[in-house]
């Protein structure tokens, strides 16, 4: 009996240290971001987190009437870490997909963005077929005409992607048999390698790339069509544990109201120079 109390006390003490402790009535919520996926989220020089998502999170938490704490963590371990109770919400341009729905739950989307290839300005692969156009794709769809044209053009090349993303799956499904795929821990690592010429192409979220291009001082450019549609899931939403349905509903409602009154649009235009709200 005494031992039990002791263990519980110890566990509670640890949990109190941890912060993301979760009583049933949500007072404080811990949200994780990568802090290295500008302009979605980034780490400011003073160590705080900034970008589109931290600002949106502030709005959402106010509307959900909870205290929020932002913590950085590594992208490729986020979902297991969420289920291990490290934090309560993932807000990191996380696409809502069926695969992920098997392990976690999502709020409604707060953004929906296209994805595209990037390469260096001087690369022979710049201006590949379909550049400047949009291609709509469905979940799991392959054999699309425009994509097959790209596949031919990118034969034998090396494509860099961030590990554990929807884009990774897309590249493996469509280019895995003819091109070399290399997975990086962060987008920035991939970009620097693209710039350094270790890989020929990168594939990622377009608005992310847009800001990465600024950082690369015009060395990187888009190539080929922008790819949009349900293939990227229903857009980017907040990830929560399956058991936390109340939390999910609270934040879904907050997102709904932020979309309705144009808050998302304003923030989006501030950070992305374009509106990413889901249509």
């Amino acid at each position: 009996m005494k031992f039990r109390t002791l263990v519980v006390a110890g566990a509670v003490a640890l949990a109190a240290l941890a912060g993301p402790a979760s009583a049933k009535d949500w007072k404080t919520v811990t949200i994780t971001l990568e802090g290295a996926y500008a302009p979605w989220n980034m780490t400011n020089p003073d160590g705080t987190l900034g970008g589109f998502e931290p600002e949106l999170a502030k709005v959402l938490c106010e509307r959900a009437k909870v205290e929020c704490k932002l913590v950085a963590s590594d992208w490729d371990g986020m979902i297991p870490a969420l289920n291990a109770g490290k934090f309560d919400i993932i807000m990191d341009a996380l696409s809502i997909t069926d695969e992920r729905k098997q392990v976690i739950d999502f709020t409604i989307p707060y953004a929906q963005t296209p994805a595209a290839f990037a390469t260096t300005k001087a690369s022979p692969l710049a201006n590949a077929a379909g550049s400047g156009t949009e291609v709509k794709m469905d979940v799991g769809q392959t054999g699309v005409k425009e994509i097959d044209a790209l596949k031919e053009a990118f034969k034998g090349k090396t494509i860099g992607i961030q590990a554990a993303t929807v884009y990774a799956k897309f590249i493996y499904d469509n280019f895995g048999d003819t091109a070399t795929v290399r997975e990086y821990k962060t987008g920035a690592d991939r970009d620097i390698d693209l710039q350094n010429g270790r890989i020929d192409l990168g594939f990622d979220d377009s608005v992310y790339f847009q800001s990465a291009f600024d950082a690369a001082k015009g060395e990187l450019v888009f190539t080929g069509p922008q790819i949009v549609g349900p293939i990227w899931g229903a857009g980017e939403g907040l990830g929560v544990r399956k058991s936390d349905t109340d939390l999910r509903d609270m934040f879904s409602a907050a997102i709904k109201s932020a979309l309705a009154d144009g808050t998302v649009k304003t923030l989006s235009e501030k950070w992305f120079k374009t509106d990413v709200s889901p249509k």
């Binding site: 566990a11 912060g19 994780t32 290295a36 291990a84 920035a188």
Partner: protein, 217 residues
């Protein structure tokens, strides 16, 4: 942050190491077997994996205990605790070996001499064994500190903003990889050489009864 993690880890490691070393030396077959398993496993599995296992597995375990005790919801292990625990467990396995070696290095004759003048077991341990074990173990503990200092770089994967992660994020956002990693590396060099000196001095102090040991380094 790096220093804090390493210091806490070294403490955890010292306690674990002492327990495990005692278990291995106890002469009890079950205990010494368990001790060997501990040192083998944690020295044989990559640090990165151990950190991941404790980061993910640790909170699952804490949560499971909590729930078994009737506590609802999730209990998390913060990055700092998980990181320090992981590096501590690893350094514990190395320190156990260091302590064991140091204990075995205490000359049998000196123990017999202590018994001969009628020292009790406890007194013998406190007055004769401990001071000598500490002296013999010091260089080893110094090595483990260096090891832990560098292991702490791996905690960056759990998102704790220690030296490594800070340089990584800075490198990523500024695209100045070379610069920031050089700076990060240089900072570690400063830390390791500073701590080297501290341990050197401590060692010299501990060795003051053995002048012959000096000057050989």
């Amino acid at each position: 942050m790096t220093l804090a993690v390493t210091a806490v880890a070294l403490l955890i490691g010292a306690v674990l190491g002492a327990i495990v070393a005692a278990a291995k030396l106890s002469g009890n077959r079950v205990l010494s077997f368990l001790g060997s398993v501990y040192t083998t496993v944690f020295r044989g599995v990559p640090e990165l994996l151990i950190i991941y296992l404790i980061y993910f597995g640790g909170s699952t375990a804490v949560t499971a205990i909590g729930q078994a005790m009737g506590y609802e919801g999730f209990l998390g292990l913060p990055s700092f605790a998980a990181g320090a625990l992981a590096v501590g467990i690893i350094s514990g396995s190395y320190q156990a070996e260091v302590f064991r070696g140091a204990y075995l290095a205490v000359a049998k004759g000196e123990l017999e001499a202590a018994s001969a003048i009628g020292m009790s077991r406890a007194l013998r341990f406190r007055r004769i064994i401990m001071p000598q074990v500490l002296r013999y173990a010091l260089p080893g503990v110094g090595n483990v500190w260096q090891l832990s200092l560098k292991d702490s770089a791996l905690i960056s994967v759990t998102g704790l903003a220690e030296l490594m992660r800070t340089s990584q994020v800075a490198a990523g956002s500024t695209r100045q990889y070379f610069l920031f990693f050089i700076v990060g590396g240089a900072l570690y060099l400063v830390l390791t050489s500073l701590s080297d000196q501290v341990f050197d001095r401590a060692e010299r102090r501990a060795n003051r009864s053995m002048p012959s040991a000096m000057g050989q380094v």
